[in-house]
């Protein structure tokens, strides 16, 4: 789901979200777990909170769900400030990493729980439970206990249980991290399909950039409790605003350099670095770097860097090289086409890439 940016970004910047966070902050003593979080999620969008473990994703989600108090800031849903509202009045569906099904109830009762709390008439409730169980493809398992189901099935029950009450917002906390790789891909798409079909506003917490990029409308990259960047998957990947985002989302090569007068000197290259002064980090993604053996020269079109192959890895669909260049190890990768020779370590090569694929950040 990569879309081009403009109208999406405009939507975000207007500041009119279905779910809005305003300066949301959570402190544990001196430690700031979530720091001044501002966000607007338009209705019907799936937004990822993406970041390394411990960056404050779960804390943020729990504050939205009302399960954890915020130190300061506001949570607004559909124009209503719900900051002090207890979780049982927030009308949010939460899917936990650990599934958190009721072990003493069968699947049908698990799914029916929220409807029972809302005093939905029996007949209607039974029909909605049936539909929800069918939606997650578990028809026939109604009278099984959670412990009798596989992890993937339990996670689908958790999803059905959260969605059957038609919550205003769906929150998912690393819902796929306990599943094996194949199931994870399936469930990922399934969650996206259901979310789109129902048109529900959803927040999807993950530390897996693939999950965030592939199924979400917007990605919020977090680090140390702070929002690093927010944008469409395309924006996040192609225009990372910080060195952290560039390094966390996708693979990256880093070169240390020095900037002055709008130009950075990196391993003998001159790279445009408008507005930078002092030590910088220059980055380029491995698959944007081409490798050649016939001595390409740097010109206006491409940056070029000579080097020596130190390792070649044939991975079937891609061929990866590690090349000693510019005082560090640069990685390249290219899709295999069949028949190309794998260069031996020690082979002199030239790396080259387009200036627009080059990112420059102030060195930390």
């Amino acid at each position: 789901m990569i879309r081009t940016a403009p109208e999406e970004t405009a939507g975000l910047k207007q500041g009119e979200g279905f779910l809005s966070l305003r300066g949301l902050t959570r402190r544990y003593g001196d430690f700031v777990a979530v720091d001044d979080f501002n966000l607007d999620v338009p209705k019907g969008e799936l937004v990822a909170f993406l970041g390394p473990s411990g960056c404050g994703k779960t804390t943020s989600l729990r504050m939205i769900a009302g399960l954890a108090p915020s130190t300061s800031g506001h949570i607004v849903v559909n124009g209503r400030d719900i900051t002090g509202v207890p979780p049982y009045q927030r009308d949010m569906g939460l899917v936990f990493q650990s599934y958190a099904l009721f072990p003493h109830m069968d699947i049908a009762k698990n799914v029916a729980f929220g409807l029972e709390m809302r005093k939905v008439p029996k007949a209607e409730a039974a029909e909605r439970v049936r539909e929800a169980i069918a939606m997650v493809r578990l028809t026939g398992k109604e009278h099984h206990r959670p412990a009798q189901l596989s992890g993937g099935q339990q996670q689908r029950v958790a999803l059905a249980r959260a969605l059957v009450v038609r919550p205003s917002i769906l929150l998912l906390d690393e819902p796929l991290s306990n599943l094996d790789a194949k199931l994870r891909d399936e469930m990922r798409n399934e969650i996206r399909d259901i979310q789109k079909r129902l048109g529900i506003t959803a927040v999807f917490v993950t530390h897996d950039q693939m999950e965030a990029l592939t199924i979400c409308d917007k990605v919020v990259v977090m680090n140390h409790g702070k929002l690093e960047q927010m944008g469409t998957p395309h924006e996040i990947y192609e225009h990372p605003k910080t060195a952290f985002v560039a390094g966390f989302v996708g693979r990256i090569n880093r070169l240390a350099g020095k900037a002055s007068g709008g130009v950075a000197e990196v391993a003998g290259l001159k790279v445009a670095a408008p507005g930078f002064n002092g030590p910088v980090e220059v980055m380029v993604r491995p698959h944007r770097v081409s490798l050649s053996t016939d001595g390409v020269q740097a010109d206006g079109e491409r940056h070029a860097l000579p080097g020596t192959v130190t390792r070649a890895t044939f991975a079937g669909d891609i061929l990866e090289y590690e090349v000693e260049a510019g005082g560090t190890i640069m990685k390249t990768e290219a899709a295999t086409r069949g028949g190309e020779a794998v260069l031996a370590p020690g082979t002199p090569v030239t790396l080259s890439w387009r200036p627009q694929d080059t990112y420059v950040y102030a060195a930390s």
């Binding site: 769900a65 009302g66 399960l67 207890p86 979780p87 049982y88 009045q89 927030r90 009308d91 949010m92 569906g93 939460l94 936990f96 650990s98 958190a100 099904l101 009721f102 072990p103 003493h104 729980f113 929220g114 709390m117 809302r118 958790a158 249980r161 959260a162 009450v165």
Partner: protein, 264 residues
């Protein structure tokens, strides 16, 4: 628990321990079926008449009824008091929760005879000696610490996200407690009930201080009976008690899983 190969030495030690624990039964069961007028091992003739004698002994049957009633009342109160106490200690974590927890378990560390004496001194002026209420209060001093301990452990091991899931689905705190927390604590509740019941039913020392001529518990009645007469009736009674205990333990095993309940 992990499956590990068991060494022959451990097997031998276990066997000896079991024999030691079961030795009283090896003596008591035959005597209970004795046809003699006096306790003697081995009996010279066999009969079930001493089992019949229990039910014709008005004092014994009265004491038995008292003991059962007492154990039930004590168990119910232990659960009703122990559950909120455990909840407060584990979930609300007041300042000094740990110290409070230790304080609640302190009666278990005192020799029962000391407790009995203290209870006697406090209860006598209150006119509680020789009353059912007095017995209930005395037994609660011993069973409540067990109840708070076992229920605290049961609560502490529950997965909190399950309760949080209920809250996000619209359940108020009290509904969460009754619909989710309590059912998930089932095995802890069953084992607490069994433990309190057996501790109360088995209690001798405190009961000795508290009982009087008109009110006696079964163990105390048996004790007095043995003091005065040496007939094999108490052996028959003992066998019945062993069977009763076994029934309670079996109920626990069926509903909660024995190893899960008592070993942990």
């Amino acid at each position: 628990m992990d499956e590990r190969p068991i060494s022959p030495v451990l097997k031998g030690v276990t066997l000896v321990m079991f024999l030691f624990l079961l030795a009283p039964l090896i003596v008591v069961v035959p005597i209970s079926f004795s046809g003699d007028a006096y306790m003697a091992f081995p009996p010279t003739s066999w009969s079930v008449k001493w089992y019949g004698a229990i039910f014709h002994d008005a004092q014994m049957t009265a004491a038995f009824t008292i003991s059962i009633l007492l154990a039930i009342v004590v168990t119910v109160i232990s659960l009703l008091v122990g559950l909120p106490a455990a909840y407060a200690l584990v979930r609300l974590k007041p300042r000094g929760a740990e110290a409070l927890g230790s304080l609640f378990t302190a009666p278990l560390l005192l020799p029962t005879i000391v407790l009995g004496l203290a209870i006697l001194l406090v209860f006598a002026p209150l006119g509680l000696l020789g009353t059912f209420q007095g017995l209930v209060a005395a037994h609660l001093i011993v069973t409540l610490p067990y109840a708070v301990r076992v229920l605290s452990t049961a609560l502490a091991t529950l997965p909190i996200p399950v309760e949080e899931a209920a809250a996000t689905l619209g359940a108020r705190p009290l509904t969460v407690f009754f619909k989710v927390t309590l059912p998930m604590m089932r095995s802890g509740l069953v084992s607490t009930a069994a433990l309190c019941f057996l501790v109360s039913f088995d209690e001798v020392v405190l009961s000795l201080f508290m009982t009087g001529p008109r009110l006696s518990t079964l163990p105390v009645a048996m004790y007095h009976h043995v003091e005065q007469q040496a007939d094999p009736m108490v052996a028959s009674l003992s066998v019945l008690l062993v069977v009763l205990t076994l029934v309670v333990v079996l109920i626990v095993d069926r509903t909660a899983g024995l190893a899960k309940t008592f070993v942990k």
